[in-house]
């Protein structure tokens, strides 16, 4: 029936059975609905046991990431009408362990994030009396794109390197390292070197570029990683010639 939407939803209830399965739900087709609307309808009217994360429903909190027909998506921005009348398959984000149903364990990312020191590291102590930081629009533009990350982790799901080796620091964390490196208020480029240039850092990236493709905020983490490679490689080259100075 073309006025119905069928969702095949991944279920995993570790308290009940060891194996995952798919559960099929049928809802009335609504042209305005996003996949998240359908999921909420299912939870409210059909099956209250379905577990998933969500909050803002406007693509800013990063909670509702799931695989929709095999692609990592924010379900609050994924419209049912773009799939209708095909069945929509909803699964938890790949490359993460599954806690239950659509809920993944994201502790790995929560450990990787602080490892790149994603905060302003000023060159020297700055007392409040000195007043506010100021930046020109040009200075803001340098890092602005990389600051748009909402930590939704779609990029980790898209990245085959992370899928093959979960030790890889990953796109979002590395893009945030670059965000701070490019901020004129920051002097932490050297401080971040160990984490960023470690084996599981930027050098494990082979520029597949899928992270940038799936990013819902246009962050371009793949671009950030390649910039980091260039910048730290130049650092290294300079350190050979000028051992005491020269950072890029």
């Amino acid at each position: 029936m073309s006025d119905q939407t069928v969702l095949e939803v991944h279920r995993y209830l570790p308290d009940e059975d060891a194996e995952p399965r798919f559960q099929s739900y049928e809802v009335t087709y609504k042209e305005k609905w996003v996949v998240l609307d359908a999921m909420n309808h299912i939870k409210a009217e059909i099956d209250p046991t379905l577990s998933f994360r969500w909050s803002c429903r406007m693509g800013i909190c990063g909670s509702c990431g799931m695989m929709v027909n095999g692609e990592p998506k924010l379900t609050c921005e994924t419209f049912i009408r773009d799939y209708h009348p095909d069945t929509i398959k909803v699964e938890p984000l790949t490359h993460f362990p599954v806690v239950r149903d659509l809920v993944i364990n994201m502790e790995d990312f929560m450990e990787k994030l602080p490892s790149v020191s994603p905060w302003l590291i000023p060159a020297e102590d700055e007392p409040l009396e000195d007043g506010e930081h100021q930046q020109t629009p040009a200075q803001v533009a340098q890092y602005q794109r990389f600051s748009m990350c909402i930590n939704c982790m779609l990029c980790y799901s898209a990245c085959p390197v992370y899928g093959l080796d979960s030790k890889f620091t990953g796109p979002a964390a590395l893009a945030l390292a670059q965000r701070y490196n490019l901020d004129s208020r920051d002097d932490g480029h050297g401080h971040r070197a160990d984490a960023v240039t470690a084996h599981e850092g930027i050098w494990e990236s082979t520029y597949v570029g899928e992270c940038t493709q799936v990013c819902p905020k246009g962050v371009d983490p793949a671009g950030a990683i390649q910039m980091l490679k260039l910048s730290y490689a130049l650092d290294w080259a300079k350190s050979l010639v000028m051992p005491r100075g020269g950072r890029t």
């Binding site: 362990p97 599954v98 493709q213 371009d220």
Partner: protein
């Protein structure tokens, strides 16, 4: 704590999506380039003295091999040119220089250098 479900990446992951497949081809082009480099070194080593090697180089199989390697090398070069705007981010005040412009300039430079090398070798 309840058991978490892990879903290991299948070996055939790169067949699942066109972009993954093209990525693998791009990576494999490095093997083709490496193999051809060995061939070139062999050719230089023998310097035309080995008759069967020279015959091979002139055979149709060899020509097709060269065509394939050339195609792969060009594909690889194309992806490299497309990469340049990602690492060379240039700014005009607070606006970014159009990435296509940077890629375009790189492509033109590549063609100029290639043209120059061809002219030197064929002239």
């Amino acid at each position: 704590m309840s058991q978490e479900l892990t879903r290991p990446l299948p070996r055939t992951w790169w067949l699942k999506k066109a972009s993954y497949f093209l990525f693998m081809i791009r990576e494999l082009t490095s093997l083709a380039v490496f193999a051809y480099a060995l061939l070139l070194i062999l050719a230089l080593w023998t310097a035309g003295a080995d008759a069967s090697f020279s015959t091979f180089l002139n055979s149709p199989v060899s020509v097709w091999l060269h065509v394939v390697v050339l195609a792969l090398a060009l594909f690889h070069t194309g992806t490299w040119i497309a990469l340049t705007p990602k690492v060379m981010v240039l700014w005009r005040d607070d606006e970014r220089v159009e990435p296509d412009l940077i890629a375009g300039v790189t492509a033109i430079l590549f063609l100029m250098v290639t043209g120059g090398v061809l002219w030197l070798t064929l002239a």
